[in-house]
Subunit: 158 residues, 2 copies
DNA sequence: CCGTCATTGGGATGACATGGGATATCATGG
DNA sequence: CCATGATATCCCATGTCATCCCAATGACGG
């Protein structure tokens, strides 16, 4: 199984189209999916994206829950936020206005590989998020009671 | 299996007609249904809609419930409330006056995908409801299913 | 230095939501 | 049984937007 790896930043053209990175398209084509299924991330101003496989699994889970129960509605509500973004013949998608605003995208888009799925971010926000994680890792590293003065992590990014 | 995904808001014209979103029509046409079967939601001021297939499943479920029980009567009452909304040649439906009032619709309609079925809401009410669910899902630490579990799913078809 | 592939751009076409007029269907009252 | 009005259905027109097709640019490897 191929994975979504690395981060790509592509531009939004005047029609609102963005090229999906070719490596991601390759992975998607192996996931029973001619388009991208996307929904708002719970934690960040980002979009969670995957192929059709995962969504069909979710729909299958729905069958195991009593039809008018609270839990059923909670899961079903995810489908309301979900969108299918079809790929055009050049491998581009169009991000709907509401999603653009939610993510805060103006002129370019970061595609962030997450292994089995990927995310869509505003590039600066993504970089900041990444940096915050580095800081966090670094900070927790410093609070550890180690006696090692030279931490190789520092200065990893030029 | 095709699913009802995403949320679409369409306008009611002066004759009371509303376009059913094209993707939903596509799903419906695969569900043995030239029209929409709809009934009032138990929990919200919304309409539950689907094709004929799902209603037939519900009718089958009725057989598993003791006749004359409270639950039986409740479910059976659904069928009394149920209406068939035929699609015109442009893919529009007409919402009867009582349903319009029940949902609180004035000039536009939200079609809300729920996977195997969809709902009809007043757009503002739907947005509020959906936002509440996002908060709830976030607070309850709702986790998405993984895209490809390591352990084989019980009953999975190779 | 050239060929291939990926991203980017733009015009033309088509699909869809929407609107309005004309015609058919139905329930009601005479 | 027919007349009438209201309502729904069919048909056609329009504007907007997405999709398709074609082209150009840029990156990369041989």
């Amino acid at each position: 199984m191929r994975l979504f790896l690395s981060t790509y930043v592509n531009k939004v053209d005047r029609k609102g189209r963005v090229s999906v990175p070719a490596p991601f398209r390759t992975v998607l084509s192996g996931q029973n999916s001619s388009g991208i299924l996307t929904f708002r991330s719970f934690k960040h101003n980002a979009l969670d994206c995957s192929g059709l496989d995962r969504v069909q699994e979710m729909a299958a889970q729905l069958d195991t829950i009593p039809e008018f129960s609270e839990e059923y509605e909670n899961l079903a509500a995810l489908f309301a936020d979900m969108k299918t973004l079809p790929l055009d013949s050049e491998g581009r998608i169009i991000l709907p206005e509401d999603l653009l605003q939610f993510v805060g995208i103006t002129d370019s888009v970061a595609f962030v590989g997450q292994g089995k799925n990927f995310q869509i971010w505003e590039p600066a926000a993504q970089e900041a998020h990444q940096e915050a994680r580095r800081q966090s890792a670094r900070a927790s590293g410093f609070t550890l009671p180690t006696s090692r003065p030279v931490a190789p992590i520092v200065g990893a990014t030029p």
